[in-house]
Amino acid sequence: MMAPAVSPRSKEVASLRPLPWRRMAWVTWRQHRAALIGLVVALAAIAAYTWTVGLQLHHAYAAQLACRPAGSDACLQLTSGFNSVGGFLTNGWILQLVPALIGAFVGAPVLARELETGTYRYAWTQGFGRWRWTLAKLAGLAVAVTAAAGAISVLFSWYYQPYFSAGNEARNLSELASLAPSLFDLRGVALAAWTLAAFSIGVLAGMLIRKVVPAIVATLFVYSGLAIATGSWLRAHYLAPLVTRSLNVPNAVWIVSQNWMTKAGQTVSQSVLYQVLQGAPAQVAGKDGGGPNLHALAAWQYLVEHGYTQVTSYQPASRFWAFQWIEAGWLFGLSVLLIVVTVWLVRRRAA
């Protein structure tokens, strides 16, 4: 008697398919459209400024290249013109804020706001199911912020292009290392990867801290820590650095470390080098006229003559794309891990 009474219901339960994922598209858009529109407006403002300055930069560069004869006053003027166009954009530090702010202001509030205002009690008791709700929302937003960052990084790549041409040094034009910490992660695929990582850090921080403002602050701190650790330590070890004993290291390479050594291979400290240079003739030690570069070069020559060697470990510019993919790869892996942890926390959360 019991069996037939039970089976229809269990059949009904078994046939209960989850709601289609596309239902979350409108939900995500409706709840986060303010943040997404804000993001697009902010990126559009940055893009407009970068584009305007970038056009000047590229024109100045083309004009300098076309200038004949190369040594004339007019050409020198064009050279210094090109070198000063970029202003604060040139070193790239200010643009490092882009991923950090996206992660903090788009990522951190996603779950923190629900938990802080109590609306998770609405959202997580609807028929869609709470972990699916979380996964759909995070995946949708992650794709959106990554695509936005990817788009603006194309513009940044174009902007910085003139600084990386091989001929710049010979023409006295600014030449930057494409692997330099403040520029590497603005170009290629790295900016999108860093933005995705910042977003993932933000959502996890929001889930753990459950309050919007502290989660934003925590996201900024954790992201900065990761970015600084990567730029100052981790990135240099993606591939074994090359080593040269030449004194003439090109500007385009990223110097990882540079030391003077004795013939026996012992690192020489600055104070010892200073002692050695005390015995040098006046024009080497910089006691009479001449530019600082000349003195440095003369001093280095003097040191080499006295049996010391300058050993430079560096990463060549040709490794740019290899490093880009290595960095994007581990950042992507980290982001997926953080999002999976967040969804898992939502699923098992009991509080």
């Binding site: 009904e12 239902r23 979350m24 939900v27 008791t125 609807q126 009991a350 509080a351």
Partner: protein, 303 residues
């Protein structure tokens, strides 16, 4: 079918028990009131039922045999949480859209018609609605899903008397017309008399009384008699004794009037009176089924 069935259900936060070995079964088709002082575990029980919390020990099933929080359970249970959380900067119309997108069933016509009747402007943001309107909006979102079970956590605590009355009227219409089972927790005892037909009284994380209101009322009498003779009732399960100067009033678990001694009178008891008596005696309990014998022991031990 039992809409909620718990067996030895416990919920701990660290070392504090919010819920302690609760065993109860609420049959479908009732408006069930969950009553008890603050910290009795009412909210905890409801949050376990809707799957927002996970039990520390024991078992809990909803809508027959569903695991709380499973898709089938989420599909059949609508929950209006305490303080009726809504997205404050989302319009009433968009709250309907959100809820429709997040659920298998959503009766748009019903929801729109109800908001119209209530005079809630669809374009107004939820945060700009009055407290009563927000509660009504949250209730409308829940009812438009046509749930099998409607769970309300302190739904009227923040409302003024008129809003409270309107809210409960909506709930009772849904229960009567659509056969929705309702479980609501409340402090407001006066509201229960009219609305609830099943009652669960909780205190200190335990279920103290559970049963149909009619059965409970039929199973208790108020006996009034000379204060000096109060000791004559030692053999009856007295829940609560109220001593006057001349007379003693005893709430007794009995349906039998034939044992009333000379000089004593027996009266039926009202729901509010019954609930208050049990709330004053947290160690007394009245539970259905096999638990009954231990119940009488407990209430005898009281005296």
């Amino acid at each position: 079918m039992n809409v909620i069935e718990a067996s030895n259900l416990s919920k701990r936060y660290g070392s504090t028990h919010a819920l302690r070995e609760c065993t109860l079964a609420i049959p479908a088709g009732h408006v069930t009131a969950l009553v008890g002082p603050n910290g009795a575990g009412k909210s905890t029980l409801l949050n376990l039922v809707v799957g927002l919390l996970a039990p520390s020990e024991g078992s809990l099933s909803v809508l027959g045999s569903c695991r709380p929080g499973s898709l089938a359970a989420l599909d059949g249970i609508a929950f209006v949480a305490q303080d009726t959380p809504l997205y404050k900067n989302v319009s009433a119309a968009d709250m309907l859209h959100l809820t429709r997108n997040l659920n298998r069933h959503f009766d748009w016509t019903y929801a729109e018609a109800r908001l119209g009747e209530l005079g809630i402007p669809l374009k107004r943001k939820a945060g700009k609605l009055s407290g009563g309107q927000q509660a009504q909006l949250a209730l409308t979102l829940a009812l438009a899903r046509h749930p099998k079970l409607l769970v309300l956590d302190e739904p009227v605590a923040m409302l003024d008397p008129i809003a409270r009355h309107d809210f409960m009227a909506t709930v009772l219409v849904a229960a009567a017309e659509d056969g929705v089972s309702v479980v609501l927790s409340s402090h407001v005892l006066a509201e229960l008399e009219r609305s609830a037909d099943y009652i669960i009284l909780m205190s200190q994380g335990k279920v103290q009384v559970a049963g149909e209101v009619d059965d409970l009322l039929a199973g208790h009498r108020i006996l009034s008699g000379p204060a000096a003779d109060a000791a004559a009732y030692t053999e009856l399960p007295v829940v609560h004794a109220r001593q006057g100067e001349v007379q003693t009033h005893l709430l007794v678990r009995t349906s039998m009037d034939d044992r009333v001694p000379r000089g004593w009178e027996s009266h039926p008891v009202g729901l509010e009176e019954l609930v208050l008596a049990y709330l004053r005696e947290p160690d007394a309990s009245a539970l259905p089924g096999p638990l009954r014998s231990s119940v009488i022991d407990a209430s005898e031990a009281r005296r």
